[in-house]
């Protein structure tokens, strides 16, 4: 039986990012990073503070552009797109989950979940319907009309996950998604990510916590702006003797 060809969601080639500062100084944050992420993968990008993992995440999330190198998202070269083109790509292809949840506190949970759909021109009724569906997936059915201030931190992160799912993205980026949560709630959130990944959703999470990274199958470790390791998480743990 022929091996089924996997669909590449992300491909980066020789990605570099240099910050130029006043007085002609510059700082190279990413150095020739290359890798591919296939559809349905659950990848953890790890690294110490200042390693360049957040910069990598920003470029992958189309919030920033690389200084050099190429970035292909679902086969399209996005590394040199304009601000508005990147905004369009973020709205249609990417879902974000932030450490601080970043919910709009004065808006209902349904409004928060459906926020990305406003920028796609989706009508009000359809937005609400989609928000209800997403909240059901993350286990918050019935919370549509509450305010974020009326629910716990774990629930707020579930709302953020529902918001990341609502535009049916090609990939979800989670930046330290459990950074503001206690251990039990962190486990619940990571279990939810695993469930979503099992349903076929591609997830890239940035973390410095080993416990969180353990939920991912693959790990990319960044050290001083270079890719230090790219492979199975389990193989890395075996290699490190953990």
């Amino acid at each position: 039986m022929a091996k089924q060809q996997k669909e590449t969601v992300i491909e980066v080639k020789d990605l570099c990012k240099t910050y130029f500062m006043a007085g002609g100084m510059s700082q190279s944050v990413l150095k020739n990073v290359s890798f591919k992420i296939e559809k349905g993968e659950f990848v953890a990008i790890m690294g110490h503070s200042g390693s360049g993992k957040s910069t990598l995440m920003n470029i992958l999330g189309c919030l920033d552009r690389p200084t050099k190198g190429a970035y292909y998202l679902t086969g399209k070269l996005v590394s040199q797109k304009t601000d508005n083109e990147l905004a369009f790509i973020r709205g249609h292809e990417i879902g974000f989950v932030f450490q601080n949840f970043n919910l709009l506190m004065k808006r209902t949970i349904a409004d928060n979940v459906s926020l990305p759909l406003i920028y796609q021109g989706v009508g009000e009724k359809e937005r609400y319907k989609r928000a209800v569906e997403m909240l059901k997936i993350v286990g918050l059915k019935g919370y549509e009309d509450r305010l974020p201030t009326q629910i716990s931190g774990g629930m707020q992160q579930r709302v953020a996950i529902a918001r990341a799912l609502v535009n049916n993205p090609a990939i979800i980026f989670a930046d330290e998604p459990t950074g503001n949560l206690d251990t039990k709630t962190s486990d619940e959130i990571m279990a939810l990510f695993s469930k979503l990944n099992q349903a076929g959703i591609t997830i890239v999470l940035v973390t410095h916590e080993d416990d969180v990274a353990d939920y991912a199958h693959r790990m990319i470790k960044i050290h001083d702006g270079r890719k230090e390791y790219d492979g199975l998480r389990s193989a890395y743990l075996n290699k490190e003797g953990q």
């Binding site: 919030l63 249609h92 932030f98 970043n102």
Partner: protein
């Protein structure tokens, strides 16, 4: 997209009700002040127009010429227009009627009542020229004028002050200790342009006036004469004919200046109206300062809002909002606040000016100006004061915005 931006903007500004209201207050007070000041200016203009209308606008006023001594212009000269001059003007083409006036202030006495009055020696035609109407009795006649009979027609103030509830017709009043029979009363006319009481008047034949009240320096001459034309558009032509006629009658040679002046009531109305308009503009300009302060308030609030909502802006951008969307949302919020402030300000201004009208017993017009000013100000102030904060929001880097604490 426009509906969505409007809705998002509305939700955002209604989430901070007190702050939005306080920001609105600046524009509200500014617009209300402008509306009230414009209304005040217009009321003054209307009062002026009403006063002129009560005298009639198709009127030409003839007075003494200016004195010139050693090339220096002085004040008005001595009376130079005679009663006969005025009589001759009645025959000119397009002249409806003509009259003249000589006046003097005396004390009027009836029984134990006395009152300071203005006595006007004139001709029967003055009734029509001054748009006066007889209330009771009649005006003195041409014959009374010729014979100098001691008849008077009195205004409503004198009726009230001297006679109270009595019927004055046929009664005898004393002016300068001389008796005069009241043969008619005038209908009320109200205050004049300078706030003078137009109803404090005693009219009598000019001949009687000269014989019994004040003979004057030149008894057969007047300080002011009036010519009423058949219509307003004939005024210029009639004024030229008057000048020609009077120069001929006064035997003035070519190159010699007029010893009389001819003024058109329409010109005077125009001049006074332009002063009234300038007053309106001045008042509105002063009130606009508060509008400026209000717009600075909006800009300040929107700048604070952009800073406070930096992370929200970052989140919206991360979730797909374009720079244009972000800019339009903040601009719309600013215009909405400004528009609401202007609308409420307009309502407050209109109501305030109407209340002031009731208090001061004046009819205050509701001007279309108010609406135009309000809407224009709302849009302009909203856009101008919201533009800088909106551009600031638009230019925010999504990464920095997401990191903002």
């Amino acid at each position: 997209m426009i509906y969505q931006i409007l809705k998002e903007s509305w939700i955002s500004i209604s989430a901070y009700k007190l702050r939005t209201f306080l920001t609105m207050l600046g524009i509200l007070i500014g617009v209300a002040a402008v509306v009230m000041m414009v209304a005040a200016g217009q009321t003054v203009q209307n009062e002026i127009t009403k006063t002129f209308d009560s005298m009639g606008t198709n009127l030409i006023i003839i007075g003494p010429g200016e004195t010139v001594s050693g090339g220096v212009r002085g004040g008005r000269g001595r009376p130079s227009v005679s009663f006969d001059d005025v009589e001759s003007l009645k025959n000119l083409k397009d002249v409806k009627t003509a009259s003249y006036l000589v006046n003097f202030a005396v004390q009027a006495v009836y029984g134990s009542n006395n009152y300071g009055v203005s006595v006007a020696g004139t001709t029967p035609e003055y009734l029509e020229i001054g748009n006066w109407e007889i209330d009771k009795g009649s005006m003195f006649s041409e014959k009374d004028l010729k014979t100098g009979r001691p008849y008077v027609v009195i205004g409503q103030t004198i009726v009230e002050e001297l006679f109270g509830l009595q019927d004055p017709i046929g009664k005898v009043i004393r002016l300068k200790s001389r008796p005069f029979t009241v043969i008619g009363t005038l209908k009320e006319k109200g205050d004049g342009l300078m706030g003078d009481d137009q109803d404090n008047i005693v009219m009598m034949p000019a001949t009687t006036f000269r014989q019994r009240i004040h003979s004057g320096f030149r008894p057969q001459y007047t300080n002011v004469a009036f010519v009423k034309t058949v219509s307003e558009d004939k005024m210029e032509a009639v004024a030229n004919r008057i000048e020609y006629q009077l120069r001929a009658r006064h035997h003035l040679k070519d190159g010699v200046a007029n010893d009389f002046s001819v003024r058109l009531m329409t010109d005077m109305v125009e001049k006074v109206r332009s002063v009234g308009f300038a007053l309106s503009v001045l008042l509105a300009s002063i009130a606009s300062i508060s509008l400026l302060v209000g717009s600075i308030g909006i800009m300040n609030m929107m700048l604070v809002s952009v800073t406070e909502r930096t992370r929200e802006i970052g989140t919206r951008k991360a979730l797909g909002a374009s720079n244009k969307w972000i800019m339009l949302q903040f601009l719309t919020e600013s215009v909405m606040i400004s528009f609401m402030g202007s609308f409420v300000g307009m309502v407050v201004g209109v109501l305030g000016s109407q209340v002031a009208g009731v208090v001061f017993e004046k009819q205050v017009p509701i001007s279309l100006w108010s609406v135009v000013i309000s809407v224009t100000v709302a849009v302009v102030v909203g856009v101008v004061s919201g533009l800088m904060p909106a551009i600031k929001a638009m230019k925010l880097d999504p990464i920095d915005a997401l990191r903002f604490q």
